[in-house]
Amino acid sequence: MVRYILNLLFTILGICIIASLPTLFRNDIGLLNFSLFFQNLSTLLKSLLSPFEVTYLSGMTERNLLENILPYLKYSIVILTSAYIAALLLGITFGIILTFNINNSIRKIINVLGSIPDITIFFFLQWIFLLIYKKTGILLFQIAGGFENSYFIPIISLMFIPLIYFFRITILLLSEEMPKNYIEFAKSKGISKTQLIKNHLFPNIKLKLYNYLKPGFWYTFSNLVILELIFNIQGIIWFILNHQTAEVIAFSLILFLIPWNIFFVAVEAFMKKTKLRMNN
């Protein structure tokens, strides 16, 4: 438990350090001004202790950070969480359904396609939405500076890349499991494919899949940065880029990421427990 709390504190400290790094590279007050950097870092760390009094400048007026950040935070969290969960479920489901129909060459093609840059996919999707609008007049998404928060299109777009990722991982894990002896034995006994997957294959890859939850999340999150820019979504990244002070950066990311950090710590603890149980 102490280790997890330490881990959490280190994550917060790391975010704070990176959030105050830009002060080192401001050429109006001198490059690599370390004394100012440490000064900023210490004020930032102090402000973490009294979070309700932190303010930021919006245009000319000073506003309370925590009160104003919530709508942006909520929007990004909803998009990211739903895209991540949908990608996870769909990726694993497709992987399991298609695993018997996929041969080696298709697997290789999927492997290469998995490395298509997110930018390409986002631009392409946006262009398709635009074409649909031009042809049918249905505006699927407020593209240029929409004030109304739309959810459907961003979630669908964000889902694509993690979906391919989880699909690939599932196929890979299943193909590693396939040639093992117990599967051969189960097959020779005449167990049907659905039974085989339900009772033998999936329970055995489940533990290994937990290892990929975290990289999958990082993947989705770094895609969110670009998605918010390209689709002009007014979420947390948009908020950070429009108010670039150390407090805004640190608070946004801490509020946004700490729930996830706790979730992954829980996953890790659960995994350790299951592994111990399996070894006994």
Binding site: L6, N7, F10, T11, G14, I15, I18, A19, L21, P22, L24, F25, R26, N27, D28, K108, N111, V112, S115, I116, P117, D118, I119, T120, F123, Q126, W127, L130, I143, A144, K214, W218, F221, S222, V225, I226, L229, I230, I237, I240, L241, Q244, I249, L253, L257, N261
Partner: protein
């Protein structure tokens, strides 16, 4: 398999040719980009972004410059910067990883937490925020940078190298640390091999083959980082305001580097010139895919080689043990040993 081999050589050829032609063009003409004259249709002047149909082969940009040559001159910067950043990262991490993995491998598990929390801050966002003042804000006020172009590029490269050090260092340090778990190392130790001896004598054989995969993978990461920065409006060495044919002020890339072009031209997606951003995007995607393909192919080749080697060894051994000599004859069956004889 033949098809895969052809594809492999095509991938190498694509990346290599782009780089070579781009460098050759620089030395031949000094990166001159031809300007296309105003085109007229029924006596009316057409405004500059000409489509590939109006001007062969890739059309022109909004300043009436030939996109084909823009792309050509930009290629060496994109690939060159990616290769440079990756080489610096790999060299630094190889050194640090060798030292840490060999002598301080017990400390690695403490770094794991640090590496883990490092991932929570998206690299793109970190680099953008760090370089925001130098590359964007500085020129917003009066259009002039306080630092020179080479200073800006130098700072950008330094930041982009340093931001990726930690995960790569951790990966390589683990590779070095894992060597001492190999079975024959016990024998080396018994015979008096010290850590330094293992590092210089045995480690290279295991690390170097893996290093080329790591290198190519890292090049892809750096290219993606560059593209992300480009889309966010951060170009290599910053962007400057220039005037086009009709005296409109527009941001221009200083190097015509591809990721910057994607960022600059992405606004044309909403107009009738939607093909414009797709040119650099397609080329960059093909570059990344071909690099990924090279990695996959080499990995598979390595795997096949190992399987083949072990197969050959077993067979040779078996053949010598059970050597059977038969007389060549027309009979269908040759009894090796007749029963009862």
């Amino acid at each position: 398999m033949v098809f895969r081999k052809i594809l492999y050589f095509l991938s190498i050829g694509y990346v290599g040719t782009l780089l070579l032609i781009s460098i050759f063009y620089y030395f031949k003409t000094g990166d001159v980009i031809p300007e296309v004259k105003l085109q007229f249709e029924n006596g009316n002047a057409l405004s500059p972004p000409y489509s590939p149909l109006e001007h062969f082969p890739l059309g022109t940009d909004n300043k009436s410059k030939d996109i084909f040559y823009i792309i050509l001159t930009g290629a060496k910067y994109t690939l060159g910067i990616a290769l440079l950043i990756t080489s610096l990262r790999v060299v630094i991490c190889l050194f640090l990883g060798a030292v840490f993995g060999t002598y301080l491998s017990r400390g690695l598990k403490y770094i794991k937490g640090l590496v883990d929390s490092w991932h929570y801050f998206p690299t793109t966002l970190a680099v953008y925020l760090i370089l925001y003042w130098i590359l964007i804000q500085d020129a917003l006020i009066d259009g002039q940078f306080t630092l020179t172009f080479s200073e800006r590029v130098l700072i950008q490269i330094t930041v982009m190298v340093l931001i990726g050090i930690l995960p790569l260092f951790y990966l390589l340090a683990n590779e070095f640390a894992n060597i001492k778990n190999l079975e024959f190392i016990e024998g080396v130790k018994v015979l008096g091999g010290k850590k330094t001896y293992i590092l210089f004598k045995h480690a290279p054989k295991f690390i170097l083959p893996k290093l080329r995969f790591i290198f190519l993978q890292e090049v892809i990461h750096v290219l993606l980082l560059l593209v992300h920065l480009g889309v966010m409006g951060m170009l290599l060495g910053g962007s400057v305001l220039t005037k086009d044919l009709f005296e409109n002020e527009i941001f221009t890339s200083l190097t015509n580097e591809w990721s910057g072009l994607i960022g600059l031209w992405s606004r044309f997606l909403w107009t009738t010139y939607a093909w414009m951003p797709f040119i650099p995007i397609t080329l960059l995607t093909v570059t990344i895919l071909s690099m990924q393909y090279i990695v996959d192919y080499l990995k598979e080749l390595e795997l096949n080689k190992q399987v083949k080697d072990s197969y050959v060894k077993i067979n040779k051994k078996n053949l010598e043990k059970n050597k059977i000599t038969t007389n060549p004859s027309n009979e269908k069956f040759v009894y090796l040993q007749k029963k009862g004889s």
